[in-house]
Symmetry: C2
Subunit: 347 residues, 2 copies
């Protein structure tokens, strides 16, 4: 009898990698051996996992010998180079980068929505973009009963989505402003773009670089990934993605239009109350609604501010909040691993 | 020949009142006499206007004797009590509170949109809500040529909209968090509501109290005021209003649907480039887009991130930013006063 799997975590020292280890531990994922991998720079560092010291190794193709499941979160270029090597050696890869998400041969999975897509993998399973995951978890219970025609989302995204350096930049900038000191933005809105702007006490309507159509990559990710995960190529989706000075927890303002008549606010609340992965927080009379600071450290997607459009009986609004490092990244990846075990796909 | 008007400012010590005085000075508004009014508590304070000391007096019905134009920004109850008294004494009132905005006999004016409505006043002219003003300035140039069917807005509102105490609360909270000290929220999201939440490093989806339909008063203001200002009772408008940790400068993410076919992003930019009160900041290739911190102290409405919906040729997105204390309050009030002079309505 097998007591667990040989698990590898690639990018073990990053913000998401650290959350993955914490989540694997908390969920008591069945691990017989844990291999922690990183860039050459971080190799040699030690991490405590379940009370035992694990030394991080440099990720090479050979690192994946004997690995059964590898969780990748070390950037798209590392996934592109190493995930196929891991697959060649018999591992299943859960990839948290955008490298394979839109590849037609790679399932893009949010277990609450399309767990069945796992059956058709070719060794790699993509974990969607953080802002997309929390949104589809909220959409699916409604789509199931009333269909879905249109989704228009405006996001309020936390800086931890841009990495640990971005958090530090926001905090340092904030302190400088309060102390009336000078500072120079160096990372946000997007480390790889040319100009950098102040995030402290500001809202920046740019996440990732711009595409030629005027949308950012982040916005196009939300649009394309939502269609793929929900298997609705003709769904009308649009997104405006905005970075705000919040450390962790993405908030989203959604307008949706359903296909069928008859949905009410009361039924929408009932559908979401029992939906997997969702916590309904919606009592306007008691000022109960989701907020970023309350989502930190939790695996759930919090939904509130549900109301019906005043002119369109099929139109509804909702406010969707989740920890972007957990359901948006680490937890969804581990959840995919758990689904693979449950479905008998991990051998 | 008259060299100016007897002007009163009611609420002269408040955040908006202070901006009104600054704006009257900067615009060199024709003033023959300036009467500054406030509550009993602030009476006796002195303010420098154009190099001369002006003593603030307690506002009473008699304060308005001889006043030709009174700018009110001291809360709805003060306006309700004193604006009719001022009118009785021959003054025209420009009221920056919500007291008279939806009164069918009171014009609700944004000069770039409906200056003509000033002709039908009964002594009181209402200044719209801050978040509404900047939005309609951006909508009007498009509506004029292509009509307007639908507007869905999500806001990113600054704390200065909730007053000077809210700014202090945000800064104190922020410092406490950086120093890992305890604190107790006492003002935001809404001073008059029961519960108070942390605004520092958070996003709060509540501005003003909730109505029975699940929308907040702020959201209903945006909906109803937009219809009234644009004189489009059947316009489909919806709003989600959110407070974020920004000191000054409201940002808005808009989806709009026009009536007529044929509008392109290029033409929308051309229309907005020459629109009164608008500054187009829209060069995604150079990361040029409006941001709250850049709007502070400016009278204009900044618009960018213009793009066409990918599925609906009549659908467009835009990002609208403005200083909520200026175009959103003080500048729009003074601008109404200037329009009254220009149209010969101030006698």
């Amino acid at each position: 009898m097998k007591t667990g799997f040989h698990v590898a975590v690639v990018g073990a020292t990053g913000a998401v990698g650290q959350q993955m280890l914490k989540t694997l531990e908390e969920r008591n994922f069945p691990i017989s051996k844990l291999t922690l991998l990183s860039s050459k720079r971080s190799a040699g560092k030690k991490v405590i996992f379940k009370g035992e010291e694990v030394v991080i190794q440099e990720a090479t193709p050979e690192s994946f010998e004997g690995v059964q499941i590898a969780l990748f979160s070390a950037g798209g270029s590392i996934s592109k180079a190493l995930a196929p090597e891991a697959v060649k050696r018999g591992a299943i890869c859960v990839d948290n980068t955008s490298a394979f998400r839109m590849d037609p041969n790679t399932p893009l999975v949010v277990p609450e929505v399309n767990e069945d897509a796992l059956h058709n993998h070719n060794g790699i399973i993509a974990n969607p973009n953080c802002s997309t995951i929390q949104m589809v978890v909220g959409l699916e219970p409604i789509r199931k009963k009333y269909g879905l025609k249109k989704v228009i989302v405006s996001t309020y995204q936390a800086v931890s989505g841009a990495g640990a350096n971005a958090i530090k930049e926001m905090k340092d900038q904030t302190a400088s402003i309060l102390e009336e000191k000078e500072f120079t933005p160096e990372i946000l809105p997007c480390g790889s773009d040319k100009k950098h702007y102040q995030i402290a006490f500001n809202a920046i309507p740019q996440i990732d670089k711009f595409e030629d159509n005027g949308f950012t990559f982040e916005e196009m990710k939300m649009i394309n990934e939502t269609k793929k995960i929900m298997d609705m190529p003709d769904l009308h989706v649009a997104a405006t993605c905005v970075r705000i000075p919040v450390e962790t927890g993405h908030s989203e303002s959604l307008f949706i239009e359903v296909e069928k008549e008859g949905l009410t606010v009361a039924e929408m609340k009932d559908l979401l109350k029992v939906a997997p992965g969702v916590v309904l927080e919606d009592e306007p009379e008691n000022q109960v609604y989701p907020m970023a600071i309350n989502s930190v450290g939790k695996n759930d997607v919090f939904i509130g501010r549900i109301r019906q459009d005043l002119d369109n009986s099929k139109g509804f609004y909702m406010w969707v909040v989740s920890d972007n490092l957990l359901k948006g990244a680490a937890w969804n990846s581990v959840q995919i691993a758990e689904s693979l075990v449950k479905l008998g796909l991990l051998k």
